[in-house]
C-alpha cells in the first residue's frame, strides 16, 4: 500500500481534510482527516465518494484549437497573440478573465496579477460573484474589510445557532453534523432555521421560520428593534466601537415584520431565543447572498450582532459560510473585479502604488472592472474581444444563461481552461486548454473560517494537462512578462502572496499571512492547516473584533440603515417564484460528482418541488414533467409534489447542465438582476410560469454505455452498471423495437419485448452474447419500474429485464438510502417491521445502515417515524 496523503476536499467551503491513499490496483482510498480542524475525520457523501471521481472519463487531455487537438505551443501562442492584439487594438479593457472559486490560491494569485498588473485591467471576475459577493460587500461596509469574524468552534460553543438562507445539512454537511453533534451532547443548545423551504436542515431545528422569500431584512430589523426595546443592546460597545446605530435602529423600528408572513408567535419565539442567548451565531449563505438586496440582508444580520456586541467572542458572531473550496482564497488574492489584492482597495491610489511597486508591474488599473453580469453583457456587446474562462462553467451557472451562451459564442476569442472537454462552456470556446484537477494539483485553499489548507497531488497529470498557474504563467511569458511570472512552483507563488499580505497589513488590513512569507519548500510541503492572520511578528488571532478594532478608516464598525424592499407582486403571466439551490449529493455543474453512481442515486434527475395545492391547480401529478418558463428561457423538470415549499414558491436544483439533461439549466430562467452594491445576481427569485409538459409518452433507458437520446425530454445519470436515462417525447415511434435499436445503436442485438401499443407501453430488452446491454421502458404515465433492479441487470444474463422489477418472492430493495452499504428503503422498512426496530441505532445494528458516514440517519429516522405512524394508525 502506498503512502497516505493529506489534502483538502474540492467541494464546498467547509474545507475538510481528506486522507487519500492510492491503492496498488489504481483505486483511491478516501477517508476524513481526523487531525483537520474543519472536519476532525468527518466527511460528507460527496467527499466520501471522491475516489469515484478521479477516473479519466470525459477529461480533456490535449489542448484544442477550434476543437481540434493542437500543441501546447500553438495553443498558447494563439492565446497570447489574441490577448495582445485585443489590448493593442481595443485597449486594456477589451480583455477579461472569468475565473473560479475552485482555483487554488496560487492559480488565483497569478491570474489576478497578470490581468491587473500586466494586462492593465480589472476585468477579472469569478463565479464567487454568484456566491459570496454580497457577503464581501456587507463585510466591507460593516468592518472595512472582508473579514469573517469567527471560526467553526463557535458553531459548537453557541447556545443558539441561527441558520438563515442556508440548507447547511446538504450544502455544508460536515458543519451541520458538527452542530448536530454539539446539540446532541448539549441539548440546551437551540437551532433556528430561517428559510422559506422546510429543508433537510430543519431536522435539527427547534424552530423553523418559513418566512416569505426576500423578507429577511424585515425579520432582522424587527430583531434589532426588539433587542433595543428589551435592553439587549451593548451600549458600551456601540458607543465605543460602532457608528450608525441610531439610523439603523430608526429604520429597523419602522419595519413591519408582518411582511415576513410569519405568525406573531413565531417571531416572538425567535426574538426571545435570540435575546436570551448571548452566545448566538447567525450562519448565512446563498439564501441571503443571492438576492437583489443581498448586501443589505448581510448588513441587517451584522447590525444585530454589532448592536449587541455579540461578535468575535467564542460562540458569537455573524458567520458567512462559502459555497466553494477557495472562495475565501480568491477574495484574499483580490481576484474580483472590485478588489485589488490582499484585501487592498482598487480605488485607493496608495494601495495601487503599493501593489504595483511590489509586483514591479508595468501598470495597474485605476477603476474596478466589470462584475460577472456586466462582464458578459460587455462580451455580448462586443466590448470584450478576448475572454479567458478558467475552471468554471458560466454557460450553465450565470443568470440568463442562454444569453451568456450567446454572448460567449459571439465573442471574438474565447479560451477555456478546464479539466473536462465537454462542459457547456468549453463547447463554445475557440481554444480549450487541459488543466489539472483535484488530486493532480498542488497548492492552498482557504475555507470559511480562514483556515488555509494544502491540496496535494497524488496522481500524475493525465495526458498533456498542466496546472492552471503554469498555463497562466506560460501565457504571461509569451506576452513578454517573463519577470513577473518566472515561477517554478506553487510554493514560490505562495511566498510572494504572503509577502504582499504583510504590506497590506501595514495598511491596516485584516488579511496578513506575512508570517508565512518565508516558508521553505519543505515547510510548504508539510504545511498543516493554519488559520490566518499569521503575521510576521508571530501575531495570530482566532477571532476578530471582540476588541472593537475594525478596519474602517475610523476604526469603528458601521451599522447600516437597511430597509426591507417592497416584496414584489407576483405577475399574472409568471405567478410562481422559483427558488434554486443545491442537493446533497451533487456539486455545482456536476462535472465531478456525476461520475459517481452512488451520488447519482440520491437525486438522479433534475426536479421541481411544488406545493400540493399548486400542483393540483396546475393538473400536475407526482413524477409528471413540468415546463418552467419565462421570457428568459424554459426548463423541463420532474415534478416533486411536497409541502416543503410554500404555496406559490417552487424550488429546483442548480446542478444540471446540457450534458446531463435536455432542459434543466436552471439559470436559463433566472433574470440577470443583481444587487446594486455587490453585483451578485438574484438567483433565488425568478418569476416563472409553470405548466404540464404533457408528453405522449414517458420512457426510461438503462444502458451499459452512455446514450444521447433525441427525445424532447431526457435526463441521464451514471449508474454502477452504466447509464440510466429518463426520457419523454411528443410523438410515438412507428416501431418501438426500431426505436430501441436506434437509441442503443445496436442493430444486431437480440431483442425481446412487451408491447401494448394502445397505451404506448413498450418494454424492449437488448442482449448481445446473452448479456443485457440495454432496456427501454415506456408508458403513457411516468415509468414505474425499479431503477435499482433494472440497472443491476445490465451486463448480466440474469432474467427479468422486461419485467422491470423483481418478482414478489425476490424483494425489491428499493431506492438506496444508505449509500455506504447500499441498503434500500424497502429493506429498511421491512427490517423495522419484522424486527421491531425502534431506533436509528437499532437499524444500524440490524443492517449496518447509517453506521459509516451517517448521512442517512435523518432519513432512517423519517422511515422509522413513518413506519411507527402507520403502525399507530393501524
Amino acid at each position: 500500500m502506498s503512502k497516505t496523503i493529506s489534502t483538502t476536499c474540492p467541494y464546498c467551503g467547509t474545507g475538510c481534510g481528506v486522507l487519500v491513499t492510492p491503492q496498488v490496483n489504481g483505486e483511491v482510498k478516501v477517508e476524513g482527516d481526523r487531525k483537520h480542524p474543519a472536519n476532525f475525520g468527518r466527511l460528507c457523501s460527496k467527499g466520501s465518494a471522491l475516489g469515484e471521481t478521479t477516473n479519466l472519463e470525459g477529461r480533456l487531455l490535449t489542448p484544442q484549437i477550434g476543437h481540434i487537438p493542437a500543441t501546447w505551443d500553438n495553443a498558447l501562442d494563439l492565446v497570447a497573440e489574441k490577448f495582445r492584439a485585443a489590448v493593442a487594438e481595443y485597449g486594456t479593457d477589451s480583455v477579461a478573465f472569468y475565473v473560479s472559486g475552485q482555483l487554488l490560491t496560487e492559480d488565483y494569485y497569478v491570474a489576478n496579477k497578470l490581468i491587473k498588473g500586466y494586462l492593465g485591467t480589472a476585468n477579472i471576475d469569478t463565479n464567487s460573484r454568484l456566491c459570496m459577493a454580497s457577503t464581501v460587500a456587507g463585510h466591507k461596509r460593516a468592518f472595512g474589510t472582508d473579514t469573517v469574524p469567527g471560526n467553526y468552534d463557535d458553531l459548537e460553543q453557541a447556545d443558539l445557532v441561527v441558520l438563515t438562507g442556508s440548507n447547511l445539512a446538504w450544502c455544508h454537511p460536515v458543519l451541520y453534523q458538527r452542530i448536530a453533534a454539539a446539540k446532541a451532547t448539549r441539548p440546551s443548545m437551540k437551532v433556528v432555521v430561517v428559510d422559506p423551504r422546510r429543508t433537510a436542515t430543519c431536522d435539527i431545528a427547534d424552530l423553523h421560520l418559513p418566512l416569505r422569500p426576500g423578507t429577511d431584512i424585515a425579520l432582522f430589523n424587527h430583531l434589532l428593534a426588539q433587542a433595543h426595546e428589551h435592553g439587549a443592546v451593548d451600549s458600551l460597545f456601540v458607543r465605543e466601537h460602532v457608528s450608525g446605530f441610531d439610523a439603523a435602529l430608526d429604520t429597523a423600528s419602522s419595519t413591519d415584520v408582518a411582511v415576513t408572513g410569519l405568525s406573531d408567535e413565531e417571531t416572538r419565539a425567535f426574538v426571545s431565543l435570540w435575546l436570551a442567548s448571548e452566545k448566538v451565531v447567525t450562519v448565512f449563505s446563498q439564501g441571503v447572498n443571492q438576492s437583489d438586496h443581498g448586501t443589505d440582508k448581510v448588513n441587517s444580520i451584522i447590525n444585530c450582532h454589532l448592536a449587541t456586541g455579540r461578535i468575535g467572542k467564542p460562540g458569537m458572531g455573524p458567520f458567512s459560510v462559502t459555497g466553494q473550496p477557495n472562495a475565501m482564497g480568491g477574495r484574499e488574492v483580490g481576484g474580483l473585479a472590485n478588489m485589488l489584492a490582499s484585501h487592498l482597495d482598487i480605488e485607493n491610489e496608495g494601495h495601487r502604488d503599493l501593489v504595483q511597486g511590489f509586483w514591479q508591474s508595468p501598470t495597474i488599473p485605476k477603476n474596478a472592472g466589470l462584475k460577472a453580469v456586466d462582464l458578459f453583457q460587455a462580451v455580448n456587446e462586443g466590448k470584450i474581444k478576448a475572454l479567458w474562462v478558467m475552471c468554471t462553467n458560466p454557460a450553465v451557472s450565470m443568470p440568463d444563461a442562454a444569453f451568456v451562451r450567446k454572448a460567449i459564442s459571439n465573442c471574438d476569442f474565447v479560451v477555456v481552461s478546464d479539466m473536462f472537454a465537454s462542459t457547456d462552456t468549453a463547447k463554445l470556446a475557440d481554444v480549450v486548454l487541459p488543466a489539472t484537477g483535484w488530486g493532480e494539483k498542488t497548492g492552498t485553499v482557504t475555507n470559511s473560517d480562514r483556515t488555509i489548507s494544502r491540496q496535494r497531488a497524488f496522481l500524475t497529470p493525465p495526458g498533456e494537462a498542466r496546472h492552471d498557474w503554469q498555463i497562466i504563467c506560460d501565457v504571461a511569458k509569451r506576452l513578454g512578462f517573463e519577470n513577473g511570472f518566472d515561477f517554478d512552483s506553487p510554493a514560490q507563488i505562495f511566498r510572494e502572496h504572503a509577502a504582499l499580505s504583510g504590506l497590506a497589513s501595514d495598511q491596516g488590513k485584516d488579511f496578513d499571512i506575512s508570517g508565512l512569507a518565508g516558508v521553505s519548500d519543505e515547510d510548504y510541503e508539510s504545511f498543516t492547516p493554519t488559520r490566518w492572520p499569521v503575521s510576521a511578528n508571530g501575531r495570530t488571532k482566532d477571532r476578530f473584533f471582540a476588541d472593537g478594532e475594525f478596519f474602517t478608516s475610523s476604526g469603528r464598525a458601521n451599522m447600516l440603515s437597511v430597509s426591507q424592499p417592497e416584496t414584489t407582486i407576483h405577475e399574472t403571466n409568471t405567478p410562481f417564484r422559483l427558488n434554486t439551490g443545491r442537493v446533497r449529493d451533487q456539486w455545482h455543474t456536476m462535472s465531478r460528482t456525476a461520475k459517481s453512481a452512488r451520488l447519482n442515486q440520491h437525486y438522479g434527475e433534475p426536479f421541481l418541488e411544488i406545493h400540493p395545492e399548486d400542483a393540483m391547480s396546475l393538473g400536475l401529478r407526482p413524477a409528471d414533467l413540468a415546463v418552467v418558463e419565462n421570457t428568459f428561457g424554459r426548463n423541463v423538470l420532474r415534478v416533486l409534489v411536497t409541502d416543503r415549499v410554500l404555496v406559490g414558491d417552487v424550488f429546483a436544483p442548480i446542478h444540471w447542465t446540457a450534458q446531463h439533461a435536455s432542459n434543466a439549466r436552471i439559470s436559463d430562467v433566472v433574470a440577470p438582476a443583481t444587487d446594486p452594491v455587490s453585483g451578485q445576481p438574484d438567483s433565488k427569485a425568478a418569476k416563472v410560469a409553470i405548466r404540464p409538459f404533457a408528453p405522449k409518452w414517458y420512457g426510461l433507458l438503462v444502458s451499459h454505455k452512455e446514450l444521447s437520446p433525441s427525445t424532447s425530454y431526457w435526463a441521464k445519470s451514471q449508474t454502477t452498471t452504466g447509464w440510466q436515462i429518463e426520457i419523454a417525447h411528443d410523438t410515438v415511434p412507428k416501431c418501438w423495437e426500431t426505436f430501441a435499436r436506434d437509441a442503443f445503436d445496436a442493430p444486431d442485438a437480440d431483442v425481446s419485448s412487451v408491447l401494448d401499443a394502445a397505451k404506448n407501453h413498450a418494454r424492449v430488452a437488448l442482449h448481445t452474447g446473452g448479456q443485457l446491454i440495454g432496456a427501454l421502458y415506456t408508458s403513457d404515465r411516468p415509468v414505474s419500474v425499479s431503477r435499482e433492479f433494472t440497472t443491476s441487470l445490465i451486463g448480466t444474463n440474469r432474467p427479468g429485464a422486461l419485467h422491470g422489477r423483481p418478482s414478489v418472492d425476490q424483494p425489491d430493495p428499493g431506492p438506496t438510502v444508505c449509500a455506504c452499504f447500499n441498503i434500500g428503503a424497502n429493506t429498511i422498512l421491512d427490517a423495522i417491521r419484522t424486527q421491531d426496530l425502534l431506533s436509528v441505532q437499532a437499524i444500524g445494528k440490524a443492517l449496518s445502515a447509517g453506521t459509516n458516514c451517517g448521512s442517512c440517519k435523518p432519513e432512517l429516522a423519517a422511515l422509522l417515524n413513518g413506519a411507527r405512524g402507520r403502525a399507530a394508525a393501524e
Partner: protein, 450 residues
C-alpha cells in the same frame, strides 16, 4: 325398482357421468353399457403418451369392466349398437340383441374426418383416434428408416407427429392453413411452434394442399401435393378434425345439427334420451376439449338423478400439450377495432404471449413457451376482471402484481417525497468501513503518482 339405463359408448364422458351418477343416485338405475371398442374407458388424451412410450395402456385406463360391474353396471364392450327404436324404447346391437331402456344416453363421441382424397382408402392411411391407431403408429417405429406423413397441423396431428418422431420415424406435417394450430394460436405463436417442431426433426409444410394419396399394391406410398411435391411415406395419418358421431341419432330421427341437439339438461329432442360429449351440439357449440364435456357429465348425472342442473358453456381455456412444447390458449384472440393487444415476445427464450384486451378486460390469451400463468389469465378471462390497474405488468403474471408498482417518483429521488433527507456526515466510526470508500478509479491507466 330401478329404471333401465342404457348407455351407448364408454368414452371419457360416460366414465365421468357414471362416476357422478353412482355417487348421487346409486340405486336409481340398472345400467347397461355398450361400447364398440372392445375395452373399458381410457383417457384418450393420454394416447399421445402411449405413443411416445411414456405410458402403457394400463396406465391410461380409467374405468375397467370390473369398476363398472362393482357399481352394478353391465358391460357389453365390443358390442356396437346399430339401431335405436324410440317408439319401443329399445336398442339393437350388432349381435342382434334388442334391449329396452327407460332412459338412453348417447355418448358416441366423434369420428375422425377423412378427407376423401383419391387413395384415402389405401392400406396405411389411418386416423388418430383410438388405441388401434396408436398401436399402428407404434409398430411403424420399429421399422428402420420409416417415413410418415401427417395431414393436419392441429393438436392431434402434431401429437401424432411428435410421437412418431420420438419413435425415430421421419415425419412430415402437411397443413392447409398458413400456420399451425390456427384455432388455438395466432401466427406468431404458430411460427414459434413450427420452429420448435423443426428443431425436433419434424418437417412442417404449412399452406400445403394435399392432392392425392399415392399407393402401390394397395398400400400407401406417398402423398402428392398440389404443387407437385411428392412426400414418400409408409404411413399416412389423417388428423384434420372430428365430426360428431350422429348417425344413430339421425336414423332415430332425433333433432340434430352438426351434433345431436341437447338442451341445458343434456336432454335430446326425446325426453327419454340424453346425450353428451363430442357427439352433441349445445347452443350451436360442439365440443372437442375435455373440460366442458366433464361439465356436461355432471349436469347429465344430475338430470338423471332428478336434480336441477344446467350446462353453461364457459370460456374454454386448456393447457395444450404437444410433446415437449408449452402452449396455452384461452378465449378469443381474433382482432377487431375494439380490441387491444399486449404482446410479449422473446425469441431467444422461445417465449411468446399475447393478451387480447377489450373494454378493460382480457378476452383472450395465447401463450407459447411459458404457460405457467395460464390458469391465472384464464381466471381473469372467466371472472371478467377489470385489469386496468395492473395493465403494465399484467403479462408477467401474478408474481408481479402482489404489491403496488414502484412509485415513479422514486426514480428521481431515493427518498419518499415526504421524508427529509439530511445532509451528511458523521465521523468515520469504524476503520473497517473505509474499505467502502475504496473506489474504482483510474480505469484508463494507472496514474498514481506515489
Amino acid at each position: 325398482m330401478p329404471q333401465k339405463l342404457i348407455i351407448i359408448g364408454a368414452g371419457m364422458a360416460t366414465g365421468r357421468a357414471l362416476e357422478h351418477l353412482f355417487e348421487i343416485a346409486p340405486e336409481a338405475y340398472q345400467v347397461t353399457l355398450f361400447n364398440a371398442e372392445p375395452r373399458g374407458t381410457y383417457n384418450r388424451i393420454m394416447l399421445s403418451l402411449v405413443l411416445t412410450g411414456d405410458k402403457s395402456f394400463d396406465d391410461i385406463l380409467t374405468h375397467t369392466d370390473e369398476w363398472y360391474e362393482e357399481k352394478g353396471g353391465v358391460c357389453r364392450f365390443g358390442e356396437e349398437i346399430i339401431n335405436i327404436d324410440r317408439s319401443s324404447k329399445t336398442v339393437t346391437s350388432d349381435t342382434g340383441d334388442v334391449v329396452n331402456y327407460d332412459k338412453l344416453i348417447i355418448a358416441t363421441g366423434s369420428n375422425p374426418f377423412i378427407i376423401p382424397l383419391p387413395g384415402h382408402d389405401l392400406e396405411g392411411v389411418i386416423a388418430y383416434r383410438d388405441l388401434d391407431d396408436t398401436n399402428t403408429m407404434i409398430a411403424l417405429g420399429s421399422k428402420t428408416k420409416a417415413k410418415a406423413v401427417v395431414i393436419g397441423g392441429g393438436l392431434l396431428g402434431l401429437e401424432a407427429a411428435a410421437g412418431l418422431a420420438m419413435r425415430g420415424v421421419s415425419v412430415t406435417v402437411v397443413h392447409i392453413m398458413s400456420h399451425l394450430m390456427e384455432r388455438q394460436l395466432d401466427e406468431a405463436a404458430g411460427s414459434l411452434l413450427s420452429k420448435e417442431l423443426t428443431n425436433k426433426g419434424i418437417t412442417v409444410k404449412c399452406a400445403a394442399n394435399s392432392k392425392e394419396i399415392l399407393g402401390k399394391h394397395g398400400r400407401v406410398k406417398a402423398l402428392l401435393l398440389d404443387d407437385g411435391t411428392e412426400l414418400p411415406c409408409d404411413l399416412l395419418v389423417m388428423a384434420v378434425g372430428i365430426r360428431p358421431s350422429v348417425a344413430l341419432a339421425v336414423e332415430a330421427e332425433l333433432a340434430t345439427g352438426r351434433g345431436i341437439l341437447v338442451d341445458d339438461h343434456m336432454v335430446t329432442s326425446d325426453a327419454s334420451i340424453l346425450a353428451l360429449g363430442e357427439c352433441v351440439e349445445h347452443n350451436g357449440d360442439v365440443f372437442g376439449l375435455v373440460a366442458p364435456i366433464f361439465e356436461q357429465a355432471q349436469v347429465l348425472a344430475k338430470t338423471l338423478a332428478g336434480q336441477e342442473a344446467r350446462f353453461v358453456n364457459t370460456e374454454v381455456a386448456t393447457k395444450l400439450k404437444v410433446t415437449g412444447c408449452d402452449l396455452f390458449s384461452a378465449g378469443d384472440f381474433s382482432s377487431n377495432d375494439d380490441r387491444e393487444d399486449i404482446i410479449y415476445h422473446d425469441p431467444a427464450l422461445g417465449v411468446y404471449k399475447r393478451l387480447v384486451i377489450e373494454n378493460k378486460r382480457i378476452v383472450g390469451a395465447v401463450m407459447y413457451g411459458d404457460t405457467q400463468d395460464g390458469t391465472w389469465f384464464h381466471r381473469l378471462i372467466t371472472g371478467r376482471d377489470d385489469i386496468s390497474a395492473m395493465r403494465e405488468t399484467l403479462i408477467f403474471g401474478p408474481a408481479y402484481q402482489a404489491d403496488a408498482p414502484p412509485d415513479p417518483m422514486l426514480a428521481v429521488t431515493a427518498s419518499p417525497a415526504n421524508a427529509e433527507i439530511c445532509g451528511c456526515s458523521g465521523p468515520t466510526e469504524s476503520p473497517d468501513m473505509n474499505a467502502k470508500h475504496v473506489n474504482e478509479s483510474n480505469a484508463l491507466h494507472d496514474r498514481t503518482a506515489a
